[in-house]
Amino acid sequence: MRVALFVTCVNDAVFPATGVATVRLLERLGVEVDFPAAQTCCGQPQFNTGYREETGPLVRRTVRAFEGYEHVVVPSGSCAAMVRHHYPSFGAEAAGLGPRVYELTEFLVDVLGVTDVGAYFPHKVTYHPSCHGLRLLGLGERPRRLLEAVKGLELVELPGAEECCGFGGTFAVKNPDVSAAMGADKITNALSTGAEVLCGADNSCLLHLGGMLRRREDPLRALHLAEILASTEEEPWR
C-alpha cells in the first residue's frame, strides 16, 4: 500500500522527529510512504482565528498536493479535523479530500487493522487525548489500544483526561492567562500519575505543554504517540 504523508507545518518546522517516526513506523508495517513536497499548512490557524479568505489558498494548495492519493496520513488530530470538518465549506473539490484523510491512529487501527505495531518503549506513560481528535474525529480508544500493545510500556490513567490543555491555537496568545492556567492544571494532573512521558497525538498541544514543562523544569517529557510507536528494541527512542 502506498500513502501520502501530510506531515503538517508544525511538525515540519518544529517537530520533524514526529514526521520521521511516522515514516519509519509506516515503512516497518510495509507501507510505502510518499511526501508530496507541495504541501505546507492545512490553514487551521487562519481559519480558527477568523481569516477565512486567507485560508482559501492553503485549502486549495493542500487539496492539490494530495490529489490522486487514496490514503493521506496525518500525525495530527486537529489538522485531520480541519480537513474533514471545515474543508467542505470551501467547495466540492475541497470536500473530496476529507474521506481520504486519516489521522495516524485511524490509519493504523482502521485501515491496516493493527494495534500491536511491534513497538518497544520501557517507560511509564500517560495519554492526553487532544480535543479535536477526541470530539471532532471521535478517535475513542484507538490511541489507548495502540499504547497498551507496546512492549514494556506502562500506561497510567490521566485524571481529567478529556479536559482541554489550553492550547487552542491563537487562544494561547490571545488569552494567555487562562491558557496557562489550563495548561498548569493539565500538567498537575499528569505529574500526579508519576508518568515519565506525557503522550499525545497532536504536537500543537504538546508544543504548549512541553514549553510549560521545560519552563517549570518538571520531571516529565511531552512526546508524540508516533515516536513511541516507532521505537523498537533494535532502534529505541532516545
Binding site: C9, P16, Q39, N48, E54, E162, K174, P176, V178
Partner: protein, 469 residues
C-alpha cells in the same frame, strides 16, 4: 460600556485562588452529575435532535408562532405587549406596575429582565424589586453581579454567603437569625424566613419564562425553590418578560424539553417545581396577567445564518459547567448576564461587536468543543465562535489590522513551499542563538508562560530529501 476585554478581566480571575476553588468545586460537582442524569436516557441523542429541530422550526416561522401565541394568551385573559428593545420593555413594565399603585414587586429569577436591567430601571422610578431566587438574593444583597445563568452566585462559597446574609439581610427586611452558620440548610432557612413576609404581602410579581406554547398560550417556569410558585401565584398582577425566541409551537413539544432541560441544568430527572399557566384563572392566582415579548437584538441574531442557532438556547447552563475557560475565568469576565460559551456567542450578537469586551468574546474559547457535546439543543458553539471571529476580524478593530497583516504574510509564505523551506532552514540554522523568551505581540504572551520550542537541526522536508531521495 467601558468594560475591560475578556483577557484582561480573566487575568484577574485566574489569580483569585478563592474564586478558582469555588468555580472548580461547583462546576466539577455538577459536571459528573449531569453525565449520570443524561446517561439514564438511552434516547438522549434523539431527544437532542428533536429539540434542535423544534427550535429551528420555531425560529424559521417565528412570526407565525408569535402571532398564534398572542392570540392564545389574549383569548385566555392575558394582555400581550411587544418591546423592541430594553428601554421599551422597561417603560412598559414600569407603567404596568404604576397602574397597580404598588411600589414594590417580587421577582422570579429571569435572564430577560437582567438583560434589560429592569431592577435598576424600577429602582430609579421608585419601585423596589426584590429578587427571590436564593442565588439572585445573594447577588442582590451582596451588590454583586451574576456570574452564571443557573446559579448566579456560583462564584460565592458558603462562608461568603453566610457573611452576606448576616451583614445585609437586616437592611432589606427580616435580618438573618443570630448565630447563622454556613451550612447550606441553615442558609436556605434564613432565605425562607427573610423572603416569606415579602411573598405574603406582594401584589405584583415579575417573571420570565422558560417556554411559551404558541398553540395553547401556556407559559412554563421551571424552578427548584418554590419562590417561582410564590411570585406566580400569590400576587394579584403578574408581568412576564420573555424573549421572543422562547416560544415553542405545540403543547406536545414540551415532552422533549421537560426531559432535556432539568437533566442538563441541575442534573435532576425533574426539577422540584414546574408551573404552567394560560392567561388567568378565576379564583386561582393573579387576576391580571401581562406578557411582554422582548426583541432587544434577537432579530439581529435571527438574521445571521450561522449565528441564529444561538437562539435555540434553553438556558440550561450545561455549556458553562463543562467549559474549561469559564471554570478559570469566571462569569464576570464575560461582561454580560450571559457568561460562558453561550454568552460568548449570544452577547456579541445581541449587543454587536463594537465595544472592546464584546469584540473579545468570540476569542474567549480554545474551541475544545465540550460545550457543543453537552448542549441539549445541539448548538455548534465552536462554529458560531469562528463565524463571529470572522466578523470581528473583518471589522478590523483594535489589534486586528496588525493581526490580519501578519496572517496575510504567513499565508503568503505558506502558499510557497520553497520560501517556507528557506524560512525553516534559516530558523533551524540560527537556533543556537534563539532566546527562550521573546518580546513583541504574540511572542511575549506565549513566552511569559512557556519556553519557546527548541528548533530542530533541520526541518522534516530536508530530512526527507536526504534520506528518501
Amino acid at each position: 460600556m467601558g468594560m475591560p476585554s475578556f483577557p484582561e478581566a480573566a487575568r484577574e480571575a485566574v489569580g483569585d485562588t478563592t474564586l478558582r476553588a469555588n468555580l472548580r468545586h461547583a462546576t466539577h460537582t455538577i459536571r459528573d452529575k449531569r453525565a449520570r442524569a443524561v446517561a439514564e436516557l438511552d434516547d438522549w441523542a434523539a431527544l437532542r435532535e428533536a429539540g434542535k429541530r423544534i427550535k429551528d422550526d420555531t425560529l424559521r416561522h417565528l412570526d407565525t408562532y408569535l402571532v398564534r401565541l398572542e392570540a392564545a394568551v389574549t383569548a385566555a385573559g392575558g394582555t400581550v405587549h411587544w418591546a423592541a428593545d430594553a428601554a421599551e420593555a422597561n417603560r412598559i413594565v414600569t407603567a404596568l406596575v404604576r397602574a397597580t399603585g404598588e411600589t414594590e414587586v417580587v421577582k422570579v429569577k429571569s435572564m430577560a429582565t437582567q438583560e434589560i436591567g429592569l431592577n435598576e430601571h424600577l429602582e430609579a422610578e421608585g419601585i423596589a424589586a426584590y429578587e427571590t431566587d436564593l442565588a439572585e438574593l445573594i447577588v442582590q444583597l451582596g451588590e454583586d453581579r451574576p456570574s452564571h445563568i443557573l446559579v448566579p452566585a456560583i462564584h460565592r462559597n458558603r462562608a461568603e454567603i453566610r457573611d452576606i446574609f448576616a451583614e445585609k439581610m437586616g437592611s432589606w427586611g427580616r435580618p438573618a437569625p443570630d448565630g447563622l452558620s454556613d451550612t447550606p440548610a441553615e442558609l436556605a432557612e434564613a432565605a425562607r424566613l427573610h423572603l416569606r413576609e415579602k411573598f405574603l404581602r406582594a401584589k405584583v410579581g415579575i417573571s420570565g419564562a422558560n417556554f411559551m406554547v404558541a398553540e395553547t398560550g401556556t407559559l412554563v417556569v421551571v424552578e427548584s425553590e418554590g419562590n417561582g410558585r410564590m411570585c406566580l401565584t400569590l400576587p394579584e398582577t403578574l408581568i412576564s418578560v420573555v424573549g421572543i425566541e422562547k416560544v415553542v409551537p405545540s403543547w406536545r413539544d414540551l415532552e422533549v424539553f421537560l426531559q432535556t432541560l432539568p437533566r442538563s441544568s441541575t442534573a435532576e430527572r425533574m426539577n422540584p417545581y414546574t408551573s404552567m399557566w394560560t392567561g388567568t384563572t378565576d379564583e386561582d392566582g393573579p387576576s391580571a396577567f401581562h406578557l411582554v415579548l422582548l426583541d432587544n437584538g434577537r432579530t439581529d441574531a435571527l438574521a445571521d445564518e450561522v449565528g441564529r442557532q444561538a437562539l435555540r438556547c434553553i438556558r440550561c447552563s450545561a455549556c458553562l459547567n463543562v467549559c474549561p475557560v469559564y471554570e478559570r475565568a469566571g462569569g464576570h469576565a464575560y461582561g454580560s448576564v450571559y457568561p460562558g460559551p453561550i454568552g460568548a456567542i449570544l452577547t456579541p450578537q445581541l449587543r454587536g461587536t463594537s465595544s472592546e469586551i464584546d469584540a473579545s468574546l468570540p476569542y474567549a474559547s480554545s474551541l475544545c468543543g465540550a460545550c457543543y457535546e453537552v448542549c441539549p439543543v445541539a448548538i455548534d458553539i465552536p462554529e458560531v465562535l469562528v463565524h463571529l471571529r470572522e466578523r470581528v476580524a473583518e471589522e478590523g478593530g483594535k489589534g486586528h489590522r496588525l493581526e490580519k497583516a501578519a496572517i496575510k504574510a504567513a499565508s503568503w509564505v505558506l502558499d510557497r513551499p520553497n520560501t517556507l523551506a528557506a524560512v525553516e532552514r534559516l530558523a533551524s540554522a540560527t537556533r543556537k542563538v534563539h532566546p527562550k523568551r521573546l518580546p513583541g505581540p504574540g511572542a511575549r504572551q506565549w513566552s511569559d508562560h512557556r519556553d519557546l520550542p527548541e528548533l530542530p537541526a533541520e526541518p522534516f522536508r530536508d530530512w526527507w530529501r536526504k534520506n528518501r531521495p
